[in-house]
Symmetry: C2
Subunit: 341 residues, 2 copies
């Protein structure tokens, strides 16, 4: 008997718990809609380092270290770190892992990495391979622009469909404890590509993957959108999340009543981010602050977190390929007492 | 009670089995020492494609598809694909996953990816989250040179300490069946960095990580090097594997009697690869052909496969950082009847 429903959904029978979390963001994100929820807002996104890449890695290390403190455990009790980021060869994660000295699995799921790391981590805890795991990711506007688009110094005009890569990190500690937010189930994404090749329109490229995974989640589990207080995508942005609502309705699912997108919500309208936020850190920072916080207060009881990732590289785009995308979904619930019964 | 020994080692109590495997390599590798063992040797490493990146992805897809055939299952029975490669944003894996249409987890462990994917896959099968998983990786000389070093057209002279990135792919299908080679245990690596910053001396950069993981494996499991017929590192090359023998001896472990390195063995002396092979595909292609083949014949009964990865990027090196490295170890055994007892 597999711990699996349908083709893509894993069921965590031992209900791994969120035992700690942390978020750190840059100054622009601190001035956005979630400023008061983040654990730490930097005054300078260089964070005392000489390069944006080093700052990104330092921020990620901070998020992991502080999430471990929040879980009231020692670093040595972390049985595995699951982390990834947008940088080539995920250097932010690997350099953070180097200074932490914990067993490490590097992941690449682009902006889907928060959900990917949570699924991997939950499998390890649920399968009895770990007592505590750290699941972390993040992104940095300046390092991402430099790598994927143009040097910042060029002052390139941004098209109206573009999103702003979030400078932010999030880390969740999962543990096999009896209290806390449960990871109930997760739906593993497939790579979906509808032919969008505009790297300045990530929302359009990624929303078919989000649709595919949401459909699979509802089919596999038999749940409906109404079973969730909040269905939260990672970084589809304003345009992508509007298309998602249409695509879901076309497929017979009305998710509009309790649907939001982290990218759409991250910044306020005066911040000139056009379609909103994007990047691994967009969903990661909001999940690890605002979402868990509202769940812990009981204001949200069932949350489906769907992180979406665009899997292109500058090389694949320059060679004329469209943008393959993926979305992984993680279902959280407040089921604190179930395990004690 | 965790399925864990010591600090870094996972124990797979349900013994996931190797139910299928496949390897495909380029023409140079076909002329090397393992030519007759590989399942397929390409005549042209462009493999009918217009770019080396596309050829790399096509080779990886072929390895996965043929490994699935070798396992005598359908593509739809693969519950998850765990794959990664050396390309920025692991485009070879993601583009292969796109055409395969199976649930997909992208990994980045550089040349440690074969072991990383096997550990992830074994956890999924052992934990009851999957019946069959595909674990795959590979590399391509021409795409790797272009991305990490110099354009091939430049004809740059290679230093004597350099290794030759293997054009080759390997895929293992693991399943929860009763027969076949067992995945017994695995030791998760930590990121280790002794300050080597020469990207033309990967063996020296990675051998401290291999030492660290081997030590952890022996401490955690209580095994000794003599418990294995073969201890096989992925791509330390001639220099790196010599240093590893010294480092292990310094730490009290004599592994020389049954130790080999895929990078050291891949090419023959006339092939001008200096320190030998490297790349994700080096260990992956030899494990999925020669090693499993000898195990199936009963010539090898206990094998410890230790894949090592150098986790730098061109950016991290250009910014003056040394090369962080990691090694993951997977212990295979011929325990075919144990589960039926």
């Amino acid at each position: 008997m597999l711990n699996r429903l349908g083709n893509q959904t894993l069921v965590f029978k031992n209900k791994p718990r969120v035992v700690g979390s942390y978020s750190v963001v840059g100054p622009k994100e601190g001035k956005g809609n979630f400023g008061k929820f983040f654990h730490k807002v930097l005054e300078d996104d260089l964070f005392g380092e000489k390069s944006y890449e080093a700052a990104e890695s330092k921020m990620l290390k901070l998020a992991i270290t502080e999430a471990i403190s929040d879980a009231r455990i020692n670093k040595d009790e972390v049985d595995a770190l699951f982390a990834g980021d947008l940088m080539n060869q995920i250097i932010s994660s690997s350099f953070a892992a180097k200074t932490l000295g914990v067993p490490y699995f590097g992941l690449f799921g682009a902006c889907s990495t928060m959900a990917e790391s949570l699924i991997m981590g939950a499998c390890h805890v649920d399968g009895g391979f770990a007592r505590y795991v750290a699941c972390a990711t993040g992104s940095h506007f300046s390092s991402a622009e430099k790598q994927f688009r143009y040097p910042l110094e060029l002052g390139t005009q941004r098209p109206p469909s573009s999103q702003w890569t979030v400078t932010g990190m999030g880390c969740t500690i999962l543990g096999n404890t009896n209290t806390g937010i449960c990871v109930e189930s997760a739906t593993i994404g497939k790579v979906v590509d509808w032919g969008v090749s505009d790297v300045n329109n990530m929302g359009a490229a990624m929303c078919p993957a989000a649709t595919d995974t949401l459909k699979a989640h509802f089919y596999d589990t038999g749940k409906t959108p109404d079973d969730y207080d909040l269905i939260l995508t990672g970084d589809l942005g304003k345009l992508g999340s509007e298309i998602l609502l249409d695509l879901m309705e076309y497929n017979g699912f009305k998710i509009g009543n309790n649907y939001s997108d982290c990218g759409q919500m991250m910044y306020n309208n005066t911040q000139k981010t056009f379609m909103g936020g994007s990047g691994c850190g967009c969903g990661a920072s909001i999940l690890n602050s605002y979402v868990y916080s509202r769940m812990r207060k009981g204001e949200l009881k069932n949350v489906l977190f769907v992180a979406t990732g665009a899997l292109m590289s500058t090389t694949s785009s320059q060679q004329g390929n469209s943008i393959p995308s993926i979305a992984h979904a993680v279902s959280f619930s407040l089921g604190g007492k179930e395990r004690n019964v």
